[in-house]
Symmetry: C2
């Protein structure tokens, strides 16, 4: 067994209350912490003290993972931090790709420490929008051709998946969300419940439940997760803005009214 | 604001190292813990001491959620425990459904405490199989017609989603997995990488990376999560059984070999 290793650590949504003890321990045990600057800020200050912190900017993913790999190969205990779960639109994949491309796959052990993904954090705040089968799609076409993304959206909407959307819209990239909403409007209709969550479990958090026809794309940004309900999803009125509910099918089998 | 509330708490995969502090606090603060007996066993013993524990058997979901709601309405601080995340094939949805059916939606505040879903736990052990767009499907047709499940499988496989499968096979329910595998074989081919994880992050954990054509359905049970790669997913040889890797597309944009 090789004795150098790299941990890719999921911070979860950002609140330390949702940072798993195993992830915290991985940060504590590390000599080097590497990550995107906005996620490095989510690491509790006490866990950064006395450590080499390698913060890199947006779009610097290859550099970021390369630095972490180099540090680990140099024998330093290294943790590469991701928000959410490292395996969902985060860096676990790129780390493995780089190791493979550099012929290092057998030299370095990579441990992935899972975290609560942004999709589940958003869902928890909305109520129970996922519950059942769901699909998860990123609208960013930086690394994926838009034609493939669009095909996935159509397939998911056509087969009645609840649809979770990452990276829905940036200042420069606006057409993808508009196209997605118009697909959803035509395949699901304007009454479809939709949940929009910005910055789940962070101080700036906002949570909104509404109908597809009411969603203004301008309210959506890169820090938002959008969840589009399936044909069964409904809004449960709770006197506090409503909750999104995708039933699993119990009502067809059991009496739910308690009688 | 009403003053009775119910927390639906995600335990994550089962290892206390992956139980978020917020979930632990919810268990600590509760007077009543309710849950499926196998998940109640995952709650650390110290957190159950001196509390009313309502363990219910398999298939007792309606009873379980009803008991938790009744306890909360009686003014007792109540936590309903789920493994993984409460919003993914777990009880968050049924709790809301019951409140709605019983006209209690405005009387009881429900707080969902998210957890690491089994899919992310399995993915972390396999390497980086999700990375990109994925779909999640349960093969259990107890509450969903098989025709709809099959339609979702076809749509997800046809649109190149990575496919995560919950409840793949029980002793009595075997044909759904066979049909799924034959769909995947015809739409993706026998060389497609597949990951099979049983009991992720529990003492009985097993993790296997293989090709679709090598998978024997008999090895799969209800405690397994199956992940079927997309057209880009490959197996990275690491000298320790291989890891599953779905690249996100960096290789098309950047040099990854470090030169």
């Amino acid at each position: 067994m090789n004795d150098v290793f790299l941990r890719v650590v999921g911070l979860g949504p950002g609140d330390v209350g949702l940072l798993a003890p195993q992830a915290r321990a991985a940060l504590e045990e590390a000599d080097v912490l590497a990550g995107y600057s906005a996620y490095m800020e989510m690491v509790p200050a006490g866990l950064k003290e006395g450590k080499t912190c390698l913060s890199t900017g947006m779009m610097g993913e290859v550099e970021r993972c390369g630095q972490a790999i180099d540090a680990a190969l140099a024998g330093r205990r290294t943790a590469l931090v991701c928000s959410g779960d490292p395996g969902v639109y985060a860096l676990a994949g790129l780390v493995l790709e780089l190791l493979e491309a550099r012929g290092l796959a057998e030299r370095l052990t990579v441990e992935i420490v899972p975290g609560i993904p942004a999709l589940c954090a958003a869902a928890a705040l909305l109520g129970a929008p996922l519950t059942h089968d769901f699909a998860c799609v990123s609208l960013s076409d930086l690394l994926t051709p838009w034609e493939l993304i669009r095909k996935r959206l159509e397939a998911a909407l056509g087969a009645d998946f609840v649809l979770g959307i990452y990276n829905p819209r940036s200042r420069r990239r606006t057409s993808q969300l508009e196209e997605t909403l118009s697909l959803a409007l035509s395949l699901r209709g304007p009454q479809t419940p939709v949940g929009l969550v910005r910055q789940a479990f962070r101080p700036e958090q906002s949570v909104r439940v509404m109908r597809l026809g009411e969603l203004d794309p301008v309210e959506v940004d890169m820090l938002s997760i959008l969840i589009i309900g399936n044909a069964s999803t409904r809004i449960m009125e709770d006197g506090r803005g409503g909750r999104m509910l995708t039933p699993r099918g119990y009502a067809g089998k059991y009496r739910l009214d308690g009688n």
